[in-house]
């Protein structure tokens, strides 16, 4: 459905997007994940024809965005970061305008009515957009993208600035739309991507550093696949006992997390499953096992791990990707400050939930 090859975008001397390649099949829900300024919005603006590209080729349903923009644009519904609303218009009036602008072929009134019902704005249709709250404006923006029933929906941070209730509603809406649309969604909020997307493209410094299904990503990264055991025991004895289990490479004591117990991280040798061995060893010693968890990485950890890497090449190495792309000078000294930002975001997200 969408084919992007060798896409680069340069603003003056600043290279915002560099050699980006991906292709998206019909019906996929793909998440663009990346910190602020990573180039997500730029890529989306290029896909929708708002910005031109410096190099490369973008086709939508076989139509080149640069050579045949009208055909390509006809297939895309775009919700930019800031919904492009004329605040001096009423909701229905605005949607009528977009309908006329896009030269939609469906019968006008039923089409707009249906969309307004879908995003639940039919009860505000006669109000001025400037009097609507942020959540409703976002939904009007959504409605605008849906007009003409385009095959592809491109949503740039669709839940930014919404309250938790609205976020859930918008997410449900995206999932519902995903059944018969191809959706590209961008966000720097991880749980959002996790909740709705099948496939994730992680972007950092204008480059793609990972592009895979959600579960594959975490599998690839957690090669060590360690497990954590919480046991009521004496620290030294248990450490030695666990180390002697067959297939265990190393054991690290993580300290007391719960009264009277210790946590041990058990790192197995490659490919070894040590869970049964660990359990029977603990049982042998007549100690109480409180929990045994696999420390498979969550998306948050993947994201941190990848973007924390000092350069995109290092991140690729983590994923075991070959580095055929030319080595670039890493201009990433500020990556640590970015990590702080992400951590903040995780905190606020947790607060919300």
């Amino acid at each position: 459905m969408i084919e992007v090859t060798g896409l680069s975008k340069r603003y003056g001397t600043y290279l915002a997007v560099e050699n980006v390649n991906f292709s998206i099949q019909k019906g996929e829900i793909v998440g663009f994940l990346g910190p602020n300024g990573a180039g997500k919005s730029t890529i989306m603006n290029i896909l929708t024809g708002y910005l031109s590209l410096t190099q490369g080729k973008v086709t939508v349903d076989g139509f080149d965005v640069a050579e045949n923009p009208e055909q390509a644009k006809r297939r895309i519904g775009y919700l930019p970061e800031l919904p492009p609303l004329y605040t001096d218009m009423k909701v229905r009036e605005y949607l009528n305008f977009v309908y006329d602008l896009k030269k939609v072929k469906f019968p006008k009134k039923p089409h707009i009515d249906e969309i307004m019902r879908l995003v639940r704005i039919d009860h505000v249709q006669n109000r001025l957009i400037k009097n609507l709250s942020k959540g409703y404006r976002q939904r009007v923006g959504f409605a605008q993208a849906l007009i003409g029933n385009p095959d592809v929906l491109i949503l740039d941070e669709p839940t930014v600035g919404l309250d938790p209730q609205q976020i859930i509603e918008i997410r449900n809406l995206i999932s519902r739309l995903g059944k018969n649309h191809t959706i590209i969604l961008s966000s720097h909020i991880l749980s959002e991507i996790q909740a709705v997307c099948d496939r994730i493209i992680i972007i950092n410094y204008g480059e793609i550093i990972a592009d895979d299904l959600q579960e594959n990503l975490s599998k690839k990264l957690s090669t060590d696949h360690s497990i954590v055991a919480r046991v009521i025991c004496d620290e030294r004895d248990m450490l030695a006992a666990l180390k002697s289990v067959k297939g265990v490479q190393n054991v690290v004591c993580l300290g007391k997390k719960e009264q009277g117990s210790y946590d041990f991280e058990i790192i197995p040798e490659e490919g070894a499953d040590v869970r049964a061995g660990v359990y029977s060893r603990i049982a042998e010693r007549k100690k109480t096992l409180l929990s045994l968890t696999s420390s498979r990485l969550t998306l948050e950890q993947i994201f941190l791990k990848l973007t924390q890497a000092t350069s995109n090449d290092a991140a690729r190495k983590m994923l075991g990707l070959d580095e055929d792309s030319a080595a670039k000078p890493a201009a990433n000294e500020d990556s640590s400050s970015f990590v702080i930002e992400i951590v903040d975001e995780i905190d606020t997200k947790e607060d919300e939930e």
Partner: protein
């Protein structure tokens, strides 16, 4: 194009701006009509020319054009326009005609004035005088709209747009006065080559400044005949600036 025209034209009347602009035009037209009529000059063409004679158009038209593109860019609503399956030139034309339609509405009362004059005047003034003045002034305004629209497409703030449009309009207004400050030295066979080049250069500047004077071109619409070259003059300015607007918007995508 029709959708954009409709929205843009309507937006003049969702706030007082459109009404204020029309009120200003109507006020000055009526004032001129009453004045000329009572002093025995029942010539509606003069009433129409009054708007450009006092320089009113130079100040009111920038108010009409300042928001056309700058506001869209500031509020990012241009994203809905530029990602819609519409050619850029159609967006530009839609906006141009919206401003033009508002401007043209200003001259509706002059039709009534002409009807009053024709119905009871003892002195018969040919109706062509009225029509030529109308055509000329409408083209004159359309050219100013095209210039203003172009300037609006260059900036992100309506205030910057109106300031630069006013500056450019003042330049157009006074360009022939500027030209009169420059004296081109007369040359003969014996003058040195360098001086000949210099005077030729000055002559080009003077010609350019004189050529920039929209009002002197408009004045020729007050004659009894309609000169095609004057129509071509305004139409080519309109086309040039519509084209430049389209280019400037396209350029923005590339920067």
């Amino acid at each position: 194009m029709r959708a954009i025209f409709k929205r843009e034209f309507k937006s003049y009347f969702t706030n007082p701006l459109g009404f204020v602009i029309l009120a200003v035009f109507y006020f000055f037209l009526s004032l001129a009509f009453v004045d000329y009529y009572s002093s025995g000059v029942p010539y509606v063409g003069k009433v129409i020319f009054f708007l450009s004679d006092i320089g009113l158009l130079f100040f009111v038209i920038p108010v009409m054009t300042m928001r056309l593109f700058s506001e869209e860019r500031r509020t990012k609503t241009d994203q809905v326009l530029f990602t819609a399956p519409v050619k850029l030139i159609k967006i530009v034309l839609g906006k141009f005609f919206a401003a033009f339609a508002l401007y043209a509405m200003a001259f509706i009362p002059t039709i009534i004035f002409q009807m009053i004059v024709s119905s009871q005047g003892d002195i018969k003034v040919p109706i062509s005088y009225f029509l030529y003045a109308l055509i000329g002034t409408i083209l004159f305004g359309a050219a100013l709209i095209a210039v203003g629209m172009f300037i609006s497409s260059l900036t992100e703030s309506p205030i910057t747009a109106i300031i630069f449009t006013l500056i450019s309009n003042l330049f157009i207004m006074f360009s022939s006065s500027f030209a009169s400050f420059i004296t081109v030295p007369t040359t003969s066979e014996s003058t040195p080559v360098l001086e000949k080049i210099w005077s030729g250069f000055l002559q080009i500047i003077v010609d350019f400044l004189n050529g920039m004077d929209f009002r002197s071109v408009l004045a020729s619409f007050g004659q009894q005949t309609l000169a095609i070259k004057d129509i071509v003059y305004f139409v080519s300015i309109i086309i040039a600036f519509i084209f430049l607007t389209e280019r400037s918007l396209e350029k923005r995508r590339w920067s």
